[in-house]
Amino acid sequence: MDFSFTQQFIQQLINGISLGSIYALIALGYTMVYGIIKLINFAHGDIYMVGAYVAFFATTLFKLSFFPALIVSMVVAAILGMTIERLAYRPLRKAPKIAILITAIGVSLLLEYGGMLLVSPQPRTFPTLFEPHVFTFGNIVVNSQQVVILAISVVLMLILTYVVQRTKIGKAMRAVSFDTDAAKLMGIDVDRVISITFAIGSALAAAAGMLVGVYYNSIDPLMGIMPGLKAFVAAVLGGIGVIPGAMLGGIIMGIIEAMVSGFISSTFRDAAAFAILIIILLFKPSGLLGKNVREKV
């Protein structure tokens, strides 16, 4: 009895980590955008959906293999993210926060239902891109998709960390997020930095979308809503605006979700995510790795 509990625990832990690395990829986009322009980009989850669809068409219509399709979908999503920022958010930079939030909700609905119109609301079967392989260790099962998800997420996060910490554009991003006005005075092109932030965040979301397609074999136009919201919760959990926080938050979210569906009931999975959000907002609104910022008058 006890033995099988441990086993199931480890199994759910593995499932949770691979799910969590997907949340982490999406959460990075939320956290970067929030860190720079203090906007919850509601449309972010839908960019993840677009990424999955681009990968789907790249692999089925154009017969691309895994890596080219991944790159195509990341590039398309990056362009989409920059376009959305340019058309919908940039004109509202000085507007009240609520106006931008409502716009973001609008963009999100537009992508979801525009997507339904373009690619039909029916779920599609994502093609198998590499031979599924199942590794078993005793009674614990790890499949090759999980390994690929984890590997690609880790690589992308390493690249991101390098870009943010070591390159000139990364330095500019950190400067803008620290103090936009001061960054402008130092000669940083703030609009360009924001644009690039959207591009990077969207590309990561698209990668997550493709990985989910590979993992669950099924994609649909509304697939972005729940993961989007959960990734936001993950970003808040880790401390919004903090990049390592988003990674940590994503993994924790994934593990909690896997545990809830493994040990309690999968119907409570979504409720658990929101419960975490409310608990964290009430007790530590700055998140696990966030710093406390005092509100100034």
Partner: protein, 319 residues
């Protein structure tokens, strides 16, 4: 004295409007399709005006209104179907339960502001829905079926009148002014000695209670309460009405509710287009007219007032 006279006049106008429409329904000039839409318009008005109290007048951005509607819908159904209580008790019970939940939820979450509150309310709305989904007593995932149709145009119309009068008078009272001052500047309001938490929770509770009423009326018109009717998409629908009409305008909410109910009726067979139009409307509104159709003004045209059943008041306070 003059104010009371105006009040009586608008009430009379409401009754006259009601008598005409009810007469037309009884004479079958207004068929079941239009009656359905009239009922939906009224329910949407209740939802939009009550959400406007929270979002528009108090400035707290809530997007979980459908959750409170669900509470009203289910609790009302439990009261009439399982406990065989009269409909009016179900309506009041639905309102009380939703209001109580609004109070319990509002007390901790209203400490958050802006974006965080938005996400928290969205999450709470979903938690309410998922919880209901997991209670077999009320039908679980297949919904609560076999609810008698107690709602009709009469009930719904008078509930709408009560909602609009109540919230309008609240806005024009000391309490309402306190709410508006929180929207304008919370720190200044606090400095003036206004207990901001108290008024935020009050607005949230009252808004939730009216959403509960709308929910009870809704489930008793459509014979069923289904968890899928109360997703956050429903909350976004209500939000669209409020934003289109203007955050902080009751007559705006009423006009937008009428307009959007007709739009969605016309597009019923093209559900994707409906949402695309809604979403484009939200974006274009925010880019070109962020204050919505009416801003925070109210209509004072007398002829319009008479047409709409006199629910509108002049912009006497000069916003």
């Amino acid at each position: 004295m003059g104010k009371n006279k105006k009040e009586v006049l608008s009430l009379v106008a409401c009754i006259v409007f009601y008598a005409i429409v009810q007469g037309l329904i009884m004479l079958d000039v207004i068929g079941p399709f239009w009656e359905l839409n009239l009922v939906l318009i009224c329910i949407n008005i209740i939802l939009a005006v009550s959400l406007n109290l929270i979002n528009g007048f108090t400035g707290q951005f809530s997007i979980g209104h459908a959750g409170f509607m669900a509470v009203g819908a289910y609790l009302g159904a439990v009261l009439t179907v399982k406990l065989h209580l009269p409909f009016i008790i179900a309506i009041l019970g639905g309102a009380a339960a939703a209001g109580f939940l609004g109070f319990v939820i509002g007390l901790p979450t209203l400490r958050l502001d802006g974006d965080y509150l938005a996400i928290a309310t969205l999450g709470l709305g979903e938690i309410i829905r998922i919880t209901i989904l997991n209670i077999p007593y009320v039908g679980g995932a297949s919904g609560f079926m076999g609810i008698p149709r107690y709602s009709n145009f009469t009930w719904v119309f008078f509930a709408t009148v009560v909602t609009v009068f109540f919230i309008r008078n609240l806005i024009n009272s000391t309490h309402g002014r306190a709410c508006i001052s929180i929207r304008e500047n919370q720190i200044a309001a606090e400095a003036m000695g206004i207990d901001t938490t108290k008024y935020k929770v009050m607005a949230f509770t009252i808004g939730a209670a009216f959403a509960g009423i709308a929910g009870t009326l809704f489930s008793h018109y459509f014979y069923i309460a289904h968890p899928a009717s109360f997703t956050f998409m429903k909350s976004f629908d209500i939000l669209t009405i409020v934003v289109l009409g203007g955050l902080g305008s009751i007559s705006g909410s009423i006009t937008a509710a009428i307009l959007l109910t007709f739009v969605s009726a016309a597009l019923a067979s093209y559900p994707e287009w409906r949402m695309i139009i809604y979403s484009l409307m939200l974006i274009v509104l925010m880019l070109y007219r962020p204050q919505g159709l009416f801003g925070n003004k109210e209509i004072s045209l007398k002829i319009f007032g008479r047409l709409m059943g006199g629910n509108k008041r002049g912009n006497t306070q000069g916003n």
